[in-house]
């Protein structure tokens, strides 16, 4: 019984919280922020995009999940590049003091650079918006993976390395059978943070390149003065980002409990 009650509470309170925010939103749009579409109006105008989420009516007039899918595809490409480059880079940083003292400063300099700064460089390098966007996502989302992997490698207990030495494991075997499994929980924390950033960057990348996707749609609807769709896009971006983080969190917890 108590368990049941706590379950209800776990659902009820978030709903109440969301309800309060919607009420404030309705109140604000009805009184002092005339340009803000009301919740009812937002739903009215967005209904078509939500209820037919995969419909394609035109290049820039598609269901919201279809747009989300385009964005996710783009994010995944950039994200995979970030992991493929970032994880080995992190390993090298973690294993070599010399490598760290050589490259850590430049990493610290590149890390805080905004996606809005990388994108024009991507356009210059690739001459096309699509690879420029992917380049930007990769450049921005790589760093948490790099730094957490390096931390994970540095945190491999000396005891495990001693076991590898006593058994005379080769360098490769030590890397893949001892260091990698030991560092994996740290690496996954990096992967999760990287995915969050990759998703954050997508909107900026699509806005500037005008590519079809949830960010491109947002910018186009702003230009078309359909403000309801801006809110629809914001909510979609938020929900998808939340879902991705939760998904990675589950995998991460599994890994942690395994070690």
């Amino acid at each position: 019984m108590e368990r049941f009650q706590s379950r209800i509470a776990a659902v009820a309170w978030p709903l109440i919280g969301a309800g309060v925010v919607v009420l404030l939103w309705a109140f604000a749009s009805a009184t002092f922020v005339q340009n803000l579409p009301s919740p009812a109006k937002t739903w009215e105008v967005s209904k078509l995009y939500v209820l037919e989420p995969f419909e394609k009516r035109g290049e820039l007039d598609q269901g919201i999940l279809r747009f989300t899918w385009y964005s996710l595809e783009r994010v995944m490409q950039g994200y995979v590049i970030a992991l493929v480059v970032g994880a080995p880079l992190g390993f090298m940083l973690g294993m070599s003091k010399l490598f760290t003292s050589s490259f850590d400063p430049i990493i610290q300099v590149l890390r805080p650079v905004s996606p809005l700064a990388w994108l024009p460089l991507g356009l210059v390098l690739f001459q096309k918006p699509e690879p420029a966007g992917i380049f930007t996502i990769a450049m921005c989302s790589m760093w948490p993976t790099v730094l957490n992997t390096a931390l994970g490698v540095r945190s491999v207990p000396q005891d495990y390395l001693n076991v590898a030495r006593v058994l005379k494991l080769s360098r490769m075997k030590t890397l893949f059978r001892v260091m990698l499994p030991s560092a994996l929980p740290y690496m996954f924390t990096g992967f999760r943070l990287s995915l969050g950033i990759a998703w954050l960057v997508i909107v900026a990348a699509e806005m500037l390149t005008g590519a079809p996707g949830v960010g491109g749609f947002l910018w186009q609807e702003y230009n078309s003065l359909i403000y309801e769709h801006i809110i629809l896009c914001i909510l979609t971006i938020g929900i998808v980002g939340f879902a991705l983080d939760r998904l990675m969190g589950v995998v991460e917890r599994r890994l942690r409990s395994a070690t």
């Binding site: 001693n162 006593v166 005379k168 395994a258």
Partner: protein, 280 residues
Amino acid sequence: MSDASPFMLELENVSKSHGTTAVLSQVSLKVEPGEFVAIVGFSGAGKTTLMSLLTGLERPDTGRALFKGEPVTGPGPERGVVFQNYSLLPWLTAYGNVLLAVEQVFPSFSAEKKQEHTERYLAMVGLSPARDKRPAELSGGMRQRVAVARALAAEPEVLLMDEPLSALDALTRATLQDEIERIGRTAGKTIVLVTNDVDEAILLADRIVPLSAGPEATLGPSTTVEIARPRDRRALNHDAHFREIRRSVTEYLLSTKSARKKDMGRSREALAGPMLEVST
């Protein structure tokens, strides 16, 4: 000529410092093939450092560490190690931890042979029912058994044990002592055990070598344990030879400690296990 030396392991005037601390000074030790030697010393005296020199994880600053007359250049599976804190890989099961060693040491075995070999050693330490459990799901005693199985499965010529039982409760400790005694007796391996428990050393070893209190610890006069095997821990309580060894080793260690003007009361308690009253 590797058979030039009659000794399995030797330390020749070995000194070792960590930073500015001189941990070991002029340590010499000779271990014969098949011998079970226990090195007894205080916590922090440098026992683990001494062990690292024998395993080859560390190299002496001066002097030499020899294995079968050849200088030790690094660790190797022919000198199996049971580490103080087990050092099991937490993402592998008990079986996986032992198998890793088997795969490495016997690469020519077929998959079935490797499996059979691994299971045999798990069975030897009584862990067959727990073979698919990860270290986190095992008790301290069971983890230590896995560590022992892993070391033995590599079929080393020498087994080096660094305070293997110090983290265990008294009862588990006693059970595992009996098991190590049995393994030492039946496997006929050369074993070096490092411990802070004099009773444990007498129960298990052929010879006891005390390590003086650090810094600049060195090995004292060794004592041969002439008690017939298998040794019965209950009968030992009343054995005059046992008491005599216990008294002389404890007194030697305490004399080196009091020379350092440290807290004697605590040391005496730590050295004399809960098994016996101190007979004076």
